[in-house]
Amino acid sequence: MIEAVAEKLEKNYLNEKQGLLSWLLSTDHKRIGILYTFSITCFFFLGGFFALLMRLELLSPRNWLVSAGTYNKLFTMHGIIMVWFFLIPSIPGTLGNFLIPMMVGAKDVAFPKLNLLSWYIFMLGGTVTVYALIRGGVDTGWTFYTPFSTSYSTTYVVAAAVGVFIAGFSTILTALNFVVTIHRMRAPGLTWFKLPVFIWSMYANSLVLILNTPVLAITLVMIAVERIAKVGIFDPALGGDPVLFQHMFWFYSHPAVYTMVLPGMAVISEIIPVFSRKPLFGYKAVAFSSVAIAVLGFLVWGHHMFVAGESVYSALTFSFFSYCVAVPSAIKVFNWTATMHKGSISWDTPMLYAIGFIGLFTIGGMTGLFLAALGLDVHVHDTYFVIAHFHYIMVGGTVMAFLGGVHYWWPKISGKMYPEGLARLSALIVFLGFNLTFFPQFVLGFLGMPRRYAAYPEEFQMLHVLSTAGATILGVGYVLPLCYLLWSWNHGRDAGPNPWRAPGLEWKSTSPPPTHNFEVTPVVTSKLPYDFEAMKEELELV
């Protein structure tokens, strides 16, 4: 009893300082991670709200809820908010910030003040984007394609571009912080091949963000200059080339797609071994496959332009490299399943999400190959097939991994357990709702329903209604975790330092961890990462 009270009084990063300012001025990576969690949750539900409106509009073949112009703004703002203010910062900003220093056994990231600055830059970018939204929104699609965005659209393109531009710097600074932290802040004895695969994936992910985000930034600058000064950078009438914009945009955005899913893979690679009680199968292969995805990711952008006027030879090359990306992705999937093989699997919530991720990511990845095929792409280009494909990766992949990761590390972050039964139920709801929402869209696209239309022929209605029904279920699946996780923050039972009996360094600290993460800087002596044998001995000693 006395011990329990003493434990309660123990200082940790949550109770050491109190008050709003102690959060807003904190340079503690764990608190900044929570600031990000707060922000991206708001943006997620804002973007989700737009999606819901779109799905409601699509219940009927005719415009019944919003005008075609408003619909254009809805899908644009949905895309902008979800891509730049949720997906890209989601796992790095929250779990990455919280976990990377802990996993490498450091007291903080390399540049703590810069870390706080990136959150403020992120919020500034978000504010500018929301301003563009309130003033009337943007209707160019999240891709800002020229010459529509530069010469014809009458909406707030510049404001939205400035918002994304600013947010880009936050992404770059966070990525820079992670790369330097992983290089320079590792605990004694923690060599590269003893790092958790989470770190490897986040490292590859950060490198991509450092190299591609500035290209987006400068492309957006050109768009803004063209719109404001009325000079023709991408306007064919003035000697410009609109396809060049697409090249520059996708040079950023295709790698950016991988930066949305690599952190998801990072999370899954941590969850699977712990809930299978086996070391990750093929550690080096999984680690290097992240690097391979990062490198190949820079060589595939042209597959977005198969029908936009590209030479046959470059189309062939881009198609070839797009197929190549399947290799490291498959390596990951096979190694995760091989890890589970003959493992002692427990069906806790994080594992449910992880298994869901593997299945949905595989479907998303395989349908990506359809789109990489030069012939087939012509048929399904710009249809719901594409929409379904990338939502399987981003929602079925990244969001599932994010939720899985939040559940897995929740005991570490909050020190509390969430209600397991309810959590399993909502994982199931998310899985069912997701498939009901997006599987019909594969069919729709294959039948020829183009994306970005508010009205459609009547024969598509059945599939659209199914999809909307799924979206409402999915919505419930997202609101539930928000409710019970917040509830458990105060009312959950205490988790203890290591409720999953996991081997990672972050579990060696108390829950929630003290401000500087570890009482004593850990020294890593085990020969391998995911050392469950050593874990067993340790637990027996206790």
Binding site: L176, R184, M185
Partner: protein, 216 residues
């Protein structure tokens, strides 16, 4: 006063060496991202120069090669003084360090002054893009494109120069309050890295904007 090295060490690092190495790596990684930012512009410039070779030569012919060359020499000299500043920081020659940093700033300002004169000249000759641009001839739109890139790229470069000048001002003030020494000069070397990078970018800008017109 207590040990300067102990004062320098932030609490989340184990050793001073680790902290210095971290700052160094941080700047290198930052320069990677800068390189890609300028890289995007260089790619766009290259594509359009291939599409409109004559117009770009024509645009380049209206550059003042004299001012451009003098400016390049000036900027390279600032890299030299910055290099000497780094050296004197390592040797603990604080007074010399202050002077050299000040000289670097002055040379940087001279560069920006000449650059500004060039901008004014282009404006007066109706070569500034947008509503100010006025030129006839078959290549006029593409010549404007040349000037669009000229202003964006040299403008972005100038912004980097201005940031660099403020960074050096920061170094000077840190040197004046005595927080730099032979034992601790990391800020000088990382600002130096940045300054040299900005100079190198200029060498390429000089080549792509001033030299194509010479073939005409």
């Amino acid at each position: 006063m207590s040990d300067p090295v102990a004062l320098e060490l932030r609490e989340h690092f184990a050793t001073v060496e680790q902290q210095r190495g971290t700052a160094d790596t941080g700047m290198w990684v930052f320069l990677m991202t800068e390189l890609m930012m300028f890289g995007g512009l260089f790619v766009a410039y290259t594509v359009y120069r291939f599409n409109h070779p004559q117009a770009f030569a024509e645009g380049s012919a209206s550059m003042d090669i004299m001012l451009g060359s003098v400016n390049s020499a000036i900027l390279l000299t600032s890299s030299l003084t910055m290099g000497f500043a780094e050296l004197s920081a390592k040797l603990g020659r604080q007074r010399l360090l202050g002077i050299l940093l000040l000289v670097t700033i002055l040379i940087g300002l001279a560069f920006l002054g000449i650059k500004f004169t060039e901008y004014v000249e282009h404006y007066q000759q109706h070569e500034a893009p947008g509503v100010w641009f006025n030129r006839s001839g078959p290549h006029a739109p593409a010549v404007q494109m040349f000037f669009v890139f000229y202003f964006i790229m040299t403008g972005l470069h100038a912004v980097h120069m201005i940031i660099g000048i403020f960074l050096i001002l920061g170094l000077i003030s840190r040197n004046m309050i005595g927080s730099l020494s032979a034992a601790y000069h990391t800020p000088v070397s990382i600002v130096g890295l940045y300054w040299h990078f900005v100079d190198i970018v200029w060498i390429f800008l000089y080549a792509i904007f001033y030299l194509p017109g010479l073939h005409k």
